[in-house]
Amino acid sequence: MDTIGLYRTTVGKKVVMAVTGAGLLLYVVVHMLGNLTVFSGAEAINGYGRWLREIGVVWPTRVALLVCVTLHFVAAYQLTAKARKARGRYQHRRRVQGSYAARTMRWGGVIIALFVVYHLLDLTVGWLNPNGVPGEIHANVVADFRHWYVVLAYSVAVLALGFHIRHGVWSATQTLGVTTSRVIGLAVAVAICAGFLSVPFAVFTGLVS
């Protein structure tokens, strides 16, 4: 296996993005399903959080995510730099085909990364959380999403993630050599957006308190 030779090509860099993207997507799905335990009451989600620590998956997951994000970002940066140099600059140019999701992959990715920083400071470290007590997951979540501006920030980020996933799933399969239907990416994105958005809106509307 010629890993270095493969990575030297634009396709090889995209393969790295596809594989790390798949890893990050797997995490996002598990995270989203975990969030849904909030609908079973305070003890369910707090207990789920304790259980994750007890079985010792927290730090290995964090390390794996950091590796994936770093590789994903480095490859994206290198590809963006090459594309910027390669593409032509027109006086007059009309887009014919590219979807909004496809066009916003790069800046969308940056927005998601910035949101993750805020999200960690909010619900992992607790500094930016109105309650901010580690372990009191339910109380922290409820304290957050009573505020419309927190709901708005999370909604924007989740939608950005949804667009990123919509094009990412399709593009990753293309890169790995299989053409799939674009509908699959859309379905995954809609399911993830619905799952993530259900929590802030449930708190905001008083369904979860």
Partner: protein, 248 residues
């Protein structure tokens, strides 16, 4: 009918859009014939005619190509600039005409760009190695019909460069994938199938083209409708080339 053409004029390192009002056009003329009418007028008034590439004027040679109102080969789908008729424009329209723009396609003059980067990609692997001699019997090598159809669809690529011109990344992946697919699905192309993918992609990258983001602008711009599935197929071959020990 009358058109106002804003055409990119360039003879040195930089250029600019120059506006020409062209009268006496017929809706049945092709877009290139409108440029011919303009050029005849420019020549008779002692001005330099607009340089543009063209040859067969029936949509099969791949020589012509320009950005017409910001779209490669103009607004009609699956149509080259030579087959684009003026009836698709309205009388009095203002039409902006620019050359293909991409780092590996330097402008030679006006609307003419140097596309020899495409030749280098083909030279890197867009061929099969066979002993030449008398032509083999037509049915000596059976080809399954679906493979023949896939190969023919890809072989329809005329190498005009519209895919690169339309790509937001300046990528020539659709061109490279069309050439690799055309040969890679046929029995005669099997011996060099994986080295072909490896070498053509390496040359594609070395020529300065960007990476593909599967946006799909290329396939919309392509006058021959080469599908994006060719790119996935090339990617699969490239992965195989780099993950097996074969040196072929």
């Amino acid at each position: 009918m009358k058109l106002t053409l804003r055409i990119w004029r360039q003879s040195g390192a930089t250029g600019r859009l120059v506006e020409y009002v062209v009268d006496d056009l017929s809706p049945d003329m092709s877009f290139l014939e409108a440029l011919d009418v303009l050029n005849e007028r420019l020549i008779t008034t002692g001005q330099e005619p607009v340089a543009f590439d063209h040859d067969c004027r029936e949509g099969i040679c791949g020589m012509c190509g320009m950005m017409i109102n910001g779209m490669a080969h103009g607004p009609e789908r699956a149509t080259t600039a030579c087959q684009l008729h003026l009836r698709h424009f309205r009388d009095g329209d203002v039409v902006t005409v620019e050359p293909w723009r991409a780092e590996p396609f330097p402008v030679v003059r006006d609307l003419v760009v140097d596309r020899s980067a495409f030749d280098r990609i083909v030279a890197a692997g867009g061929y099969i190695s066979v002993p030449t001699g008398s032509a083999p019997d037509a049915h000596a090598t059976p080809v399954p019909k679906p493979d023949a159809d896939t190969a023919f669809e890809a072989a329809a690529c005329i190498g005009c460069g519209a895919c690169v011109a339309a790509c937001p990344n300046g990528s020539a992946m659709l061109f490279t994938a069309a050439k690799a697919t055309h040969l890679g699905v046929l029995p005669q192309g099997q011996p060099e199938r994986y080295s072909r993918a490896r070498d053509m992609v390496a040359e594609h990258d070395a020529a300065g083209f960007g990476g593909c983001t599967n946006t799909g602008e290329c396939t919309s711009a392509c006058p021959k409708g080469i599908p994006l599935t060719t790119i996935a197929r090339l990617n699969a071959d490239l992965l195989r080339a780099h993950t097996t020990r074969s040196d072929r």
